[in-house]
Every structure is written in structure tokens, then in C-alpha cells.
Symmetry: C2
Subunit: 331 residues, 2 copies
Amino acid sequence: MTQNPSKQPAQDFGGKIVALAGGVGGAKLALGLYRYLQSKNRAKELAVVVNTGDDMDYLGLRISPDLDTVMYTLADLANPTTGWGIKGDTAQALQMLGRYGHDNWFWLGDQDIATHLIRTRGLQTGKTLTQITDEMRTALGIECELLPMTNEPVRTIVETEEVGSLPFQEYFVRRRAADTVKSLTFEGIEEAELTDEVCHALTDPALIIICPSNPYLSIQPILAIPSMRKLLSSSSAPIVVVSPIVGGVALKGPAAANMRSLGGETEASALGVARVYAGFAQRFVLDQVDAEQKSDIEKLAYKVMVTNTIMKDDESKIRLAQEILEGYAAI
Amino acid sequence: MTQNPSKQPAQDFGGKIVALAGGVGGAKLALGLYRYLQSKNRAKELAVVVNTGDDMDYLGLRISPDLDTVMYTLADLANPTTGWGIKGDTAQALQMLGRYGHDNWFWLGDQDIATHLIRTRGLQTGKTLTQITDEMRTALGIECELLPMTNEPVRTIVETEEVGSLPFQEYFVRRRAADTVKSLTFEGIEEAELTDEVCHALTDPALIIICPSNPYLSIQPILAIPSMRKLLSSSSAPIVVVSPIVGGVALKGPAAANMRSLGGETEASALGVARVYAGFAQRFVLDQVDAEQKSDIEKLAYKVMVTNTIMKDDESKIRLAQEILEGYAAI
């Protein structure tokens, strides 16, 4: 990883680069991959498959928070402070909803509403979520594929110790992910079908990357779609995990707490993440601060790359993406 | 009309004051009536019945422009420059819709969207437009009744000389009411029923006021509801018309042009307005600049009040309302 990237030509991947992502954490690496491939005129070889278990219906609007986060990020529209929402967006509608006495705990940016309106209307008129998303990302000038994990509604239900079961956004936003999660249910997952677009992206891909998203809340719903795990693992492409836990903490969100209550780990760690995907993924991208866990992760049959995985700006996102692609693409 | 209003106690109306209104022009007098009655602690005696023929569906949102204009006006939220929309509102969602390549010729304020979302959601969950409107006006602190003319969807279709038939808002907003209107159709009017609330308000009302709204586009749809005209004219209460045409021009909108193409008048005039309602209404409020038309209007069996009908500020709205109420309430 000390090679000078500018002297290294991009390898011929010989297939799609498929990234599985949730929200903010996943979007960062997706952006790095996208920008790097764009610089090589190969953005079209990237497909980002996004969790839709977080989707919700709010006031009749279909909201897909993870899809929106990834889309806004790739379109260079994301709010750089939060990682989600649109930069410079206002909340006039939300304030007015409050004035009408309506629930307004879920952030609804005014520009954001345009996305929700178009998505909702598209679904009402018989389009699939995949079609609608493709039209939106095209309008926003995004050149890579942006694929919802499925077109059918899947809803993550969080069983908490404190207050019983909660729809995902009630747990995550309304109650600020403060409850202890005992188990997860993905409502509708049995009826959820793999889309043609996801199947196509996963037919002989060059590389499958599990972005540094929450393994339980963001990645597990994707893998829980019937046949998805099978399709992923039956491909000859390596599956690379980028750890969302660095130095024992989650870079964003409740992943560390989830790892204890859902993963049965004493402490959150990259090793714990490796255990989640053991036997399924073969490569692991470990942050340099966790280098001492390398040999333990290798014992789980991973090849491990140690590098700086902190993506604090576009440059570091692109650098990490490049290391992953150049390190593994041709293997 | 030269009496000093402050020395005159409000009369006991002995029934509801019912105002029929369209958008901006009607909302002005509705506000005058409301504020005047509020000052007498009698705001609850006012019921404003509003045209819904202008309603439209846009991106899955049910929009009721006239209801919104009257509601925002009574709640002191209306944009004082336009008369419609919410003061200080922004259009971030609309701009984003444009970015997605979506039609954005219909103004959609961000705060406004909250109204449309709540209305749309309410209808989806089985509430009537009357219930939803009542909940919203209550939340906004409006003390009088605000009643859509019917709960069923009625759509005004405008047959134009230039481009054939147009949904109302296409004619009014998108094409800026620039086409010549040959005829109007109120789609759904035969299925539209009088609501219990409108029937109740019109059971022995004290006074029925036709606000200075467009007689063809705003008032005619209300009167076209089966039994509405009968119910109105069978009541013993006088029906008072306030002319929307002053000095031969419409104070707002295409009423003058409509009067020529739809009303068969050579020129727009208060007399022409009087002809529209002749035999149905018995009182006519004529602006002082049109005083010379008084005798011609009287020949149509109207009692005529001549006064200043220009409502340029709240004070003049209240004064006009007071003159109408004190002039006719006890008759």
C-alpha cells in the first residue's frame, strides 16, 4: 500500500465493481470508488447496491433514507456536516407540519421532499423503485449504477430491550438509537425478490465490496434477501469487507452497541466485524490502528489489507478506493 | 353608510353569516367579515364556503388553491404581495423538482407542501375534505367555519378558443389566464353532494354573501352543485353580491375578460355582475366609482348599497364587512 498510485495504471477489472452500502458510512466509500473510477472513465463499471430496510412511509411519502444518502453523496449534494440530507436544505415544510400539530421528528428537508414526491408518485404510477432511482440518479448526473437491494418493500423492525419492537426509523431517529437491540426482523424479506439489475451486476463481477456500513442494520438486510447471499458467494469474485469499526468504536451510528447486543461480542472490534462475515467474505480491509488484530482475522480465512480507512475528505475516500481496487481487482 | 360604526352595536343576526368565496378576492372580504365578527366575539357565526373546482392533483398531492388562500388569509399567514401562498415561504422543493426534470410551473411553496401533504394523507386515510380542512383551520387558530363546497372532487375544465379544453390550473397558472374562455365544464358536479356542514350553515342563515370573486370561475362551481342554488334561494336570508368588477376592471384575475367571452357582455361592469345573479340575489354592493350604474342594477330587482369596496388593507376589509353586516343583517 506504499506504491505510488499515480504510477499504477488502473487494472482491467473484467466485470462490475459491486459495492453494498447502507447510509453515511457506506456512501463515503461509494463516493471514493465512484470518483476514482470516474477519473479513469470507468464510472459505469460501478454498481452500488443499497439497503432499503430503513425505508419508511411518512405522511404518504415513501422515504428511502439510505438510497437518498448514497444518491446525494454521489451527486455531490450531501450535507457535509451530517453526511445525510442535502447541503443548504431548509425545513419549512417540517415547521409547518409542526404548526398543524403533526409529528415532525423525522427530518424532512424541503429539497428532500422533491425526491420523496417523485419516488412516491413513481411507485403509484407503477414504476419500480429501481426504475425511479435510475431516473433520479441520471437526472442528477450520476454515472454509476445505483440499485435498491430490491423493489419490494422490506422493513427492518428492531426488537429493543427497553421498549419492545420499533420500526427502524423510530429506533434510529426518534429514539436516537439509544435502546439496546435484542434482535432484528426484516418484514417482507421472504417476498423480496432480487431485481434483474442486481442479478446482472452480480453476474461475474470483478469485485464485491461490503462498505463500512453497520453490519446488522445496513448490510444484513441486503444479505437477507432470498438468494442474495447465494448469488454473492457463488460468484468467483472476491468479497472484500471494509470494517466500520475502527479502534473499537463505530465511526458513525450504533454499530458498536449493536455488536455487543446482537453480535454477542464483549467489545466492538474489527475482529468482531470479521466474525460476522467469516466464511462468506475472503478479504478484509483493516485500519492501521487495529493492526494487532490482523493475525486473528487471518485465522478466520481472510486475506487482510492494513491501511488508513478513515475517510475524512474526498481525497482519503478516493485513496482508500484506489487501494482496494488496485489491491484486489485482479486477484 | 355614514354612521359611526363604533357607536353601533352588532345586530343579533339570528343565524349564520355565510360567505361564498373563491381565492384572493373572496378571501379579502372573508377576512374582513371574520375580523369584524371576532371583534364582537362572534367569529363562530361565520361560515365561509369555498370553491374547490380549482383543485388539482400534482405529483400525487391534492391541492386546493382557493381553500388554502382563504385559510392562510384567515390565519394571517397569507403572502401580502400575491394574496395567495404563505408569506416568507420558499420554493426549495420546487427547484429540486426542476433539477429532476419535473414540471414545475405550479408554485409549490415549501410550507405550503405541509398543507398539501396533510390534506392528501387525510383523504387517503378516509377523512373528508371538510374534516381535514376543519382540523387544519383549528390548528391554525381560525375560529370561524371554513367549508369546502363539497367533499367530492369537482374539476373545472376551461374550453378555450386558442387551445381547446384545459384543466383549470393549466389555464389559470400555466397559461396565465391569457386564453379566451368559451365555456366551462365542472367535471364531477353531478356526483357532488352538499355536505352536512354546508347544509347546516345554510339552514336559516342570517345573511348570504357572495364575495367579490370571479362569478364564472369561482362562484359558479359552488352554485352548480345540485340543490345548492335551491338551498340558497329557498332560505329566507337575503343574498348579497359584492361586485368583483370595479370601474370596469377586475381587481384581480381574468373576471373582466371572462365577462365578455362567457357573460356575453360588451364590456365588463358591475351591471354585468348584477345580471349574472339577477333573480337569485336581492342585494348588491356597488363601488362608489360605479354609482351611475345604481339605477340600472335596481331595475334587476336588487337593493343597492353604494360604498367604497376597495379592500387595500385590513381596516378597509373590516369596514366593508361591517357596512354589509350592519346594513343588511337585520333585514
